[in-house]
Amino acid sequence: MASSVTAEALSSEKRGMSARERRHTIYGYVFLSPWIVGFLAFTAVPIVASIVLSFTRYSVLRAPEFIGLRNWRHALLGGDYLMWPSIGRSFYYALISVPTGLVLSLLLAVLLNQNLRVTAMWRTFFFLPSLTPSVATAFVWRWLMNSEMGIFRMVFDAVGLPMPNWLGSTEWALPSLAIISLWGSVGGSGMIIFLAGLQDIPAELLEAAEIDGAGRWRKFRSITLPLLSPVIFFNLVMGIIGALRVFGLAFVATGGGPAHATYFISLHIYNTAFIYFDMGYAAAVSWILAAIVIALTILQFSLSERWVFYQGEVRG
């Protein structure tokens, strides 16, 4: 048997490709061709081009001029006083919005997983904000948080708390954006993924723990959380990457202000490229953001081995 297979392989190797293999190759590449063209035109070429551009001065109107490492030095060594603070702000934003969002999403998924009546209806209520266009979200929340006539002020006045100037104040603008983003993300895809993950947990496991006298919290700590760790991990990676790249919401709600309080790295790239038309420098900054995102993805994947538990995995 084995020898006949080898013989066949040898003979087909001698003849080159069999008719079937040739057919597969031709059809395979024909059906693949749209992606190959798109990959070359809109991924490969732009990636190489943006590396090349990052070593030039280019304002679109005049031909690019090679300037060596000047863009990179300017960006990395503090010549651009907006650069590092904007990265710091993006991280601060990710730090306050992602963990909170993760905990709230999980909590919500646990609540919705309690065999409620009309689960689909409740799920819809929490999910709809995540489908709302960020521009509409930004305007609705600007109105809710309006410091003179917003409904928030009415609530704060009623409770007797001092009302912050939300999006209008340098210290509150960024947390305000985080709050708005929570509204748009807590009940979104992350929560749906948690909900599906919860439904995948074998009921026998929970029942067995209950027989052993485990309370609700203990069951959650020892069974639900470990079994859910791959999903938590997935949502964490997606959440951080999304937060570091936030653009539309900040662009519309605050425009990066006041006094650069919400000026994120994505806004810096946009302004540099499309307001100041400094394409070479913007390419360098975009690579710095990309490097951070890629490094974080790799870091999270390597760290995840320590705490993410996959069902069916044997651990030594």
């Binding site: 590449y29 063209v37 929490f126 521009v135 929340w141 509204w183 993924i193």
Partner: protein
């Protein structure tokens, strides 16, 4: 003896009853928490709607009224279509969405067919390359891509917003479709092949009809992505009459009229901004009610098995 047994019975009944009431209390509390949470999440929509029916003088009073005293919903919603070319912007958004969505669905499903059903040298490497492109943030491609479209003379047209979709349809969608196709039994292809069907026939008559759910997911997510796309139209479209609604809403809120189309006018009051925001958001919300299961299924399969 008998008295003891009776006492034990009544004791067990008592604990049963108290357990039952504890469970009931828990359920009630659960519903209260979920309802309260729903109210908080739905409130911005409700408040936007209430505000969109107020008069200019009523929108500017504090404390705000909880329902418009002189409701003028019809007037306000008509007003935004008069003051700004929302009808045109909606049409533009629909055109961009239709062209992009059909390109995404068609090209991603063909490319995924190649990855799922054909064996050829280089396939696995190319598949790996495709997956790795998902890791690279699109900001890196943004500037060179803009320059390419600039060279092609496509800036200030809608072409940059839909042409790329026809070339692959996005790594994520290809991956999603390929995973689904892999689950379709090969026997189906083979028996069709014996009946003399070629690869294209098999694709059109077997693979595609069986993939309706996942195609629905790709289409639904693509609709939302296109309708909500903000940065693309912001960068590529300049003329006010070419804008999509997402960018149009921002322009409108900053004070631009359809008659003059020039900035510098007083921005509209919040009653009109809220009406416009609702008009812009409505198609996404309606789509969710129509295609709910495609959204949920899609998110679940991509999140868990992806």
């Amino acid at each position: 003896m008998i008295a003891e047994a009776k006492r034990a019975q009544s004791l067990s009944q008592e604990t049963e009853a108290s357990i039952l009431s504890k469970i009931q209390l828990d359920r009630i509390l659960l519903y209260v928490v979920v309802a309260l949470g729903s109210f908080i999440f739905m409130f911005p929509f409700m408040w936007a709607f209430i505000s969109s029916g107020k008069t200019v003088s009523e929108i500017n009073i504090f404390p705000p009224t909880l329902w418009p005293k002189h409701p003028q919903f019809v007037k306000n919603y008509t007003q935004i279509f008069i003051e700004a070319p929302f009808l045109l912007w909606i049409k533009n958004s629909l055109v961009v969405t239709a062209l992009n969505l059909s390109g995404t669905v068609i090209s991603a499903s063909i490319v995924a067919y190649s990855f799922a059903r054909f064996k050829y040298p280089g396939r696995d490497i190319l598949f790996f390359i495709m997956l790795s492109t998902m890791m690279i943030p699109s900001e890196v491609q943004l500037i060179p891509t803009y320059l390419i479209f600039h060279k092609l003379g496509w800036v200030n047209t809608i072409k940059p917003l839909w042409v790329p979709a026809w070339l692959g349809g996005g790594a994520f969608n290809i991956f999603l479709l390929r995973q689904f196709y892999m689950g379709i039994p090969l026997d189906l292809d083979e028996s069709a092949e014996i009946d003399g069907a070629g690869p294209l026939r098999i694709f059109l008559t077997i693979i595609l009809p069986l993939s309706k759910p996942v195609l629905g997911t790709v289409a639904a997510l693509s609709f939302i992505g296109n309708w909500n796309n903000f940065m693309g139209p912001l960068i590529y479209l300049n003329d006010p009459e070419k804008l999509t609604v997402a960018v149009g809403l921002r322009v409108f809120s900053q004070g631009v009229t359809s008659s003059g189309m020039q900035a510098g006018l007083a921005p509209p009051q919040y009653n009109l901004v809220m009406a416009a925001s609702i008009v812009v958001a409505a198609p996404c919300l309606i789509l969710f009610f129509v295609a709910q299961r495609y959204f949920v299924q899609g998110i679940v399969t991509t999140g868990i098995k992806g």
